[in-house]
Symmetry: C2
Subunit: 335 residues, 2 copies
Amino acid sequence: MSANKQILLKSRPDGIPQAEHFELASAPVPEPGDRQFLVRNEFLSVEPAMRGWVSAVANYSTPVGIGEVMRAFAAGTVVKSRHPGFAEGDKLMGMLGWQDYALSDGTNITRKVKETDLPLSLSLGVLGLNGLTAYFGLLDLGLPKPGDTVVVSTAAGSVGSAVGQIAKLMGCRTVGIAGGATKVALCKDAFGYDAAIDYKSGDLDAALKAACPRGVDVYYDNTSGAISDAVIQHINVGARIVICGTASVSSWDPWPSGPRIERHILVKRGRMAGLIVFDYAHRYEEAATRLAQWVRDGKLKYREDIAEGIEHAPGAIAELYRGENLGKRLIRLTP
Amino acid sequence: MSANKQILLKSRPDGIPQAEHFELASAPVPEPGDRQFLVRNEFLSVEPAMRGWVSAVANYSTPVGIGEVMRAFAAGTVVKSRHPGFAEGDKLMGMLGWQDYALSDGTNITRKVKETDLPLSLSLGVLGLNGLTAYFGLLDLGLPKPGDTVVVSTAAGSVGSAVGQIAKLMGCRTVGIAGGATKVALCKDAFGYDAAIDYKSGDLDAALKAACPRGVDVYYDNTSGAISDAVIQHINVGARIVICGTASVSSWDPWPSGPRIERHILVKRGRMAGLIVFDYAHRYEEAATRLAQWVRDGKLKYREDIAEGIEHAPGAIAELYRGENLGKRLIRLTP
């Protein structure tokens, strides 16, 4: 076995992590001890939440330490095992870090990948945390009913695109908001949105009015900021607002200002709820099974944007926030 | 029968309605037609929501017209009936207006008052919309569990005081926020809050920290603004925020600014929901029956602040917003 290439956190970013906050290092490939196993990573994930994982601001997980391997989801294969629950050849997805090889005792494994008829990379996207986030956020908090109008921000993204398609499967009218003509075209052509709005061009409020003639029943938000402020103006009585991400706000320390929504939430009897997918761990298999079947049936499309080689990882979070990827951003490791 | 004294809306207020926006008028006492009945009002209600009822800003009800009798809940007795469902002597509570006599076909009746062993005035307070608002907001949206910390703003008010006591009955730790020493004393001595905070004195954040050592699980808000901003900082994972009123914000046109809560709602997986009690009309009897039994058992206390004579009505909304009343503000009509 070659050395274990790893991406370490070099310094703590103030805002969005850039390539310069990481460094490539090399370590010996570890040997599994008793009740441990070794995973050869094949795909590394890149996602907006990583900003939070390296942030010193109070968050929902303790920050990655300086000099530590960057926390990341990854998918790979067990290559050595001294653990009774994991056998050589098992396909796994878990918090395995930005590195070639990861030692595990099983506690950082999100799930064994059972859909071996489908590409392993999907376990990090449409069948992974992105798909699960879309599934639980929309169905458990958004509570879509047939005929509802569901608006999704970052609609062409790996979470948003799944939200839009699942909403469509539930019989809703789906309206996607994305930035730029390419993503808007993806929304309509690949992900089947009934309408798609380019928030970078023209009057968002007028576009929402045209796209949502019966108002907004569910708003699934990944942005916060100006996009949300515009959508919230259009909610119907009893609307559900799912807060899944805040990609458009670059710093939350201190909290930025925005229009107060309390009166509107009151008058509309709106419900706003925050979602963190890890709270649904006990229901991952239910969702992954259902999502995988939709993928096999051609009802749930996905896009991947795969960079080759671990050296692409450090700059990949900032690329996400610049909106440069088209599809789930992954890093494929060369065997 | 004497004439029917009425309070009419004279001009549309910009903000909180003052005495000058109303005028006292006199009309003939009407005669019930077929399927109508005449109610002699005994108590008129005064409540914060009346600001919305006379506002031209989009709201959850059409505004009262200039020259019309001021929309208001009132309680009284049927004195003449040509309606098969309502008999002379029936005690009623409904949208009967600020006037001595109201004609009704039954559609504006909220409920027949069945708790005739208790004072009729309670049907406008602890057994009326205030108690019902507290009941449904806390139990249906706040979802209190034994051991939860429940924070209530306008804690000595007619809604807040019921929220605090019902939360206590559910086994929660209750923390009331009110303005001034008299109301804080009421919170502790009359309404049994475990802790009460005077938001007008000292450091609200520090007081919240001291009063909520295990954080805030339910926040029942009637204020919006600075009080909410402080409480929301202390919510626990999974907290529920009930938006019931926005008394501390004097104008919502345009929407004022405040700290953005999206990130905090996300990280804490908070749930914020707006409540309008009229949505629960099909469950009023369930709640009123339960509330009445708590009153009889001495487990649910209330305060009333009753002014004598309809001429006190016009200035009473502004008094509410100045926080001058101690207990449910009612106007008793002289028979």
